[in-house]
Every structure is written in structure tokens, then in C-alpha cells.
Symmetry: C2
């Protein structure tokens, strides 16, 4: 049979290891290795949904911002979708920040925290005393600075994990919208392997 | 009193947030925020001490190698010390890898995994099909590749977390030797806050 019959079928990019086909990003890895998946989902839940002076929307925005800077489409799109749900009426701010953080309509304090997150994305030592003083000048507390740095560091991990193993990245935005709604409503629930 | 009396006392670099003084690196952050500390220690324990086709020594070596590439002295020194303990008689391999991985005496398979870890340290998408095929040609399995990528990603997080908040980094090598012995013997036990 002629190869030409298949010319419209894009060759499927396989993940680097044998994970369940069609299951996107971190979910496929939590199914591959549930023991580490459990700790990773617990970390995401406490960090993004647990008690914090930062709102859930702000924390999801930091996650999406760092993932965008790391060019991780799966994490950026899913956490941006979650942030849009959580910001509700103010959801435009998510795309403003992802497109041009400095000129977005988010608060000066949030910009100062996103600036710290961006430095962490480069490397920890890039966070300067001036970055911290700047955030404090807008009222940022120790806990806000701590949570910002840990979210940025954690997504520097998740981004590397899902892309380092070339996991499945959906290209249909509607899939991310559904993911974002689930994350906003139910939080981070480890996927269960089929019995 | 003259400032000159204090000329030999180095000004102490403070952490960016108010953590317990003199408590190094990740320990000070787990005490500052025990809820996230719990998930982070659980992740380190399952990843570096749980069941894996990679030995504990090999996993600590990957952690130290990535931390060295991220210029994180605290993580590099503590995990190198743990790796030296775990390699025992072969402990020279740790410093060989940290100094010049390609020309170290570790196995070709371990070099191929460290090469993947080094690509993850840069960014997830830097891991190529050729890197994976190379590791497979030396017999690396899915689980070995998975664990290597997740260890490299996880230390890309820990490095950013401890340096991004400018936590205390001991400069005395004997402190790291004691830490390495504790990590080799007891694993990753979350520090307890004083009652």
C-alpha cells in the first residue's frame, strides 16, 4: 500500500519510556511510578491548595508563569487554565502575565513576586537582596516570598520531569480547559491505576 | 569600641526570610514550613531510598552531580558526602564524577545516565532520543531512565529552593561528612520543630 495514503497522519511522538498512551504529562508518570507520584501530588496539593497568604489563583499563576519560561507547554497550559478558572472575572490577567508580565494589570506586589519566581526559574542564586527588598516594599511577607520561591522551584522540577521523559502533550486547548476546571474544583488527586 | 576588633569576624549572610539561624539548607526550610517539608522529605526518601534498579549510591551521585552543575554547594556537598559513604571502598568515583564525569571511572551505563541527568539540569527538552538510545545501548531500563530524570528534576527544585531563599550553607567539610553519614544511615527524616 502506498505511503501516500498516510500522508495526513502525523507520526506520533512517543514518550522516552513506556507510559500509557494518550495519558498526558504528569498523570502518565504518576501511573508509571505511583510511589513517587504520591509524594508529587501531595506536594502540589499542599503547595497550591493548602493554607497560604497567596490565593489559589495567584499560586496557579506563578506555576503557569514559570512553566511558560521553561517552555513546558503541558504545565503552562494546564496551570494557566486552572488560574483562569480561579481568577473568574479577572481571568484576563493570566494571559497578560504570560504575554508580558511587566506590563500586565496585576498588582505591583504580585509583579515583585513574579519577578522573584522568574529569577528562581533561572537559578536560585539569581534571587538578589534587591529583589527581596522590592517585594517587601510592596508588603510581601516571609510566607509569601517562601511560597513563591517554592512554587517556582517545584515547577522547575515538574517541567523537567514531564519534558525530560517526552510525555504526551495535548495540542487541543479544550483539553486544557477541562483540566483547569478539574484542578480548580478538585485540586491535585493522584490518578489511580486500573485494578 | 573600634570596628577593628571585629575585623576577623565575617559578616553573616542572612537568609532572605526569617529561618532558624545556623540550621543549614533544606532543614531550615522544613522547620519554617513543616507542611511542605513533609512532602519534600517523603519525596526524597522514596526517590533516593525506596525500591529502584539504581543503587542508593548511584542515586546520591546523580543528586550530587546535578547540584554541582547548579552550583548549589549545600546540596552538592551533602549528597556527595552521602554518596561517598554509600560507595564505601569505591568512594573515589564520587569526586571523579564531580570533577570530570566523562573521564571518571564509573561505568559506561552510569555515564549515559549522568549525561541524561545533565541534560535535564539544563531543561527537560534537552534530553534527546539519541541520549535515550545511548543509555539503552548500555542496558538502561525504563525504570533507570525514569528515576534518573526524576532525581535530576527534583534536585533542580531543591537547589533552587535552598539557594533562592539564601539559606545557611556550612563551609566546613566536616559538617557535610557528618550529614552524609546521617543520610546514608537514616535516610530522609523530616526535622521536628521544638515542642
Amino acid at each position: 500500500m502506498s505511503q501516500r495514503l498516510f500522508k495526513n497522519i502525523k507520526p506520533k511522538k512517543m514518550a522516552h519510556i513506556n507510559v500509557e498512551e494518550g495519558v498526558p504529562g504528569i498523570r502518565s508518570l504518576a501511573l508509571f511510578r505511583p510511589e513517587t507520584g504520591k509524594s508529587l501530588y501531595a506536594l502540589a496539593q499542599v503547595l497550591l491548595r493548602g493554607e497560604s497568604p497567596l490565593s489559589e489563583a495567584e499560586r496557579e499563576l506563578i506555576a503557569a508563569y514559570v512553566s511558560g519560561r521553561n517552555n513546558c507547554r503541558f504545565c503552562m497550559s494546564s496551570h494557566a487554565a486552572a488560574a483562569r478558572c480561579l481568577y473568574g472575572e479577572d481571568s484576563n490577567v493570566v494571559d497578560e502575565v504570560l504575554n508580558d508580565m511587566d506590563h500586565s494589570s496585576t498588582s505591583a506586589k504580585m509583579k515583585s513576586l513574579l519577578r522573584i519566581a522568574g529569577q528562581v526559574q533561572i537559578l536560585g542564586k539569581e534571587v538578589t537582596d534587591a529583589d527581596i527588598l522590592n517585594a517587601r516594599s510592596y508588603g510581601a511577607t516571609d510566607r509569601e516570598i517562601h511560597d513563591t520561591v517554592l512554587i517556582a522551584a517545584t515547577f522547575s522540577m515538574f517541567n523537567r520531569y514531564v519534558d525530560g521523559l517526552a510525555t504526551f502533550t495535548p495540542t487541543d486547548e479544550s483539553e486544557y480547559k477541562a483540566m483547569g476546571e478539574r484542578l480548580a474544583e478538585k485540586g491535585y488527586v493522584q490518578p489511580k491505576t486500573q485494578a
